[in-house]
Symmetry: C2
Subunit: 249 residues, 2 copies
C-alpha cells in the first residue's frame, strides 16, 4: 500500500489516496485519530458501484466524511476490477454489451447474461478487498471491527460470507444477482441492513425481497424507500451509521 496524496478537509477529516499494487483507492480517517491501539477507529469498507471511483467520488466522499466526522469511523474504498482506469477484459465487455442490448430492447435480462456479468467480477473483486483489508488494518489508528457497505450486492454477499473480519454490512438491493449467490447468501450470518428502492427501474422488487429472505443472518433489517435506483434518501446515511455504531463499537 503506497500513499500518493494526503489532504486535510475542512471538517478535519484526512483524505489519502493510495495504490495497492495496480489498484487505486482512497482512505478517510477522523480528525483526531486515536493514537493507542486499544482506541483504534473501526473501519468501513465502501465498495463503489462499477462506474469508476472518479464518477462516484462525490457520493463516496460524502458518506465517508459523515462516518469519520460524526462517528469517528475510518472509511476506505478501492476501484473495482474493470472500472475507472483499470484494464477491461473481453468477457466482461461482451457481457456488458449483452446487458445493454437486452435493456434497450426492453427484454428481461437472462440468467446467462447476469452470470457472465457478475460472477467473474465477484471472483476478482473479493480477494482484492481482502488484500486491501490486510493493508488497511496494519495502519496505525485503524483497528477492527470492520463494516462493509457496497453498491454491487453480489460482492457484498460473497465478502460477508467468506471474510470473518467483517462483522456487519449495509447492502443495496439489486436483482441482477446470479442464482448461485442465493446459496452464498444463506451462508451470511452477520447483522445486515439492506436498502431497497421500491420503484427501482433496473431491478425487480420481488427478486430483491427473495434475496433479503435468503440471508442466513438472525439480525437483518430491510429499509425500503420510495423512488428509483438513485433515489436513496439522505436520512439512510445516518440510519446506516447508527447500524454500524451498534455493531462496530
Amino acid at each position: 500500500m503506497h500513499f500518493t496524496s494526503e489532504r486535510r478537509l475542512d471538517d478535519g477529516v484526512v483524505e489519502r489516496e493510495f495504490t495497492l499494487g495496480e489498484i487505486p483507492g482512497i482512505l478517510w480517517t477522523p480528525a483526531s485519530a486515536p493514537d493507542s491501539a486499544s482506541a483504534a477507529a473501526p473501519l468501513i469498507l465502501m465498495s463503489p458501484p462499477p462506474l469508476g471511483l472518479r464518477t462516484t467520488y462525490p457520493r463516496l466522499a460524502g458518506r465517508a466524511r459523515y462516518y469519520a466526522a460524526e462517528y469517528g469511523f475510518a472509511a476506505a474504498t478501492i476501484e473495482l476490477p474493470g472500472s475507472g482506469e483499470r484494464p477491461r477484459w473481453a468477457a466482461a465487455e461482451e457481457a456488458r454489451a449483452a446487458l445493454r442490448r437486452a435493456m434497450e430492447a426492453g427484454e428481461p435480462v437472462g440468467a446467462e447474461i447476469i452470470d457472465a456479468l457478475v460472477l467473474p467480477l465477484v471472483d476478482r473483486a473479493v480477494p482484492e478487498w481482502q488484500t486491501a483489508l490486510d493493508a488497511l488494518l496494519s495502519l496505525p489508528g485503524i483497528g477492527g471491527p470492520v463494516g462493509y457497505e457496497g453498491g454491487l450486492i453480489s460482492i457484498g454477499v460473497r465478502l460477508a460470507a467468506v471474510e470473518p473480519r467483517i462483522v456487519a454490512a449495509v447492502l443495496f438491493a439489486g436483482s441482477l444477482v446470479p442464482a448461485a449467490m442465493f446459496e452464498e447468501a444463506r451462508q451470511v450470518t452477520v447483522p445486515l441492513q439492506v436498502l431497497l428502492q421500491w420503484d427501482d427501474e433496473g431491478n425487480d422488487r420481488q427478486a430483491s425481497l427473495n434475496l433479503f429472505d435468503a440471508f442466513g443472518s438472525k439480525e437483518k433489517t430491510l429499509h425500503a424507500n420510495m423512488g428509483g435506483h438513485t433515489g436513496v434518501p439522505q436520512f439512510e446515511l445516518d440510519a446506516g451509521a447508527r447500524f454500524f455504531a451498534r455493531h462496530l463499537k
Copy 2:
C-alpha cells in the same frame, strides 16, 4: 381532561394519569418542560394494541420515557374502545369470538370477520383520539407538531388520513386490515415509517407489503425485521425517534 395522578420518574420524566370523560389515559412529559409556547414540546400519540393499557403499560412507558428523556418529546396514550376497563359491546365480542374460532381452526380469517372486528373500532376510536389531541394541545408546554405511532394499523391509517395536525406516523404492519382501508391508505400523504415483522405468525407478509405500497405518502420507509409479531427489535425505538425528530422539529 382531568388529571388523577402525577409522579416524577427517576429519569426526570413526569408521568400523569388522566381521564377524558370515561376514557383513561397517560401523559409523559420531559424533565425540563419548556415554559414558552415557542419552545413547546412536540407530541407523540401512542396508540396501544387492543389489549388494555394495564397490560401494555411497560412497553408504552418504556417508549414514552425514551422519547421524553432522549428527544424532549411529550407522549400520550388513551385506552381503546372496548379494551381494559372500558365497556365491551356485543358486536365486537362476537367478531372477536369469530376471529378466535377461525384462528384455532387454522382457517383463513374471512373479510367479513375482519370488517366486523376492525371497522367499528376505527369508527369509535378515531374521534376519541381527535378529542384527546384537542385536550393535550391545550396544555402548557405541549405544542404541535404531532406524531402518531400505533398498534392497530387501521386506526393509524384513518387518523393519518383525516387529522391534519398529525404530520408523521410510525405504523406497525398487520394484515387484519379491511379492504376499505386500502382506499383510505391512498389518502395518507404524511411521511411514514412502517414496521413489518417478516415472520409474523398472525399476519400475511404479502398483504402487509400491499398496504405499504398503497399509502399515498411520497416519503414512506418500510423497516422489515426478522421474527414474530412481538419481536420488534429494540433498536427500532431509536429509529422511530429519529424519524420523528426529522419531522417534528
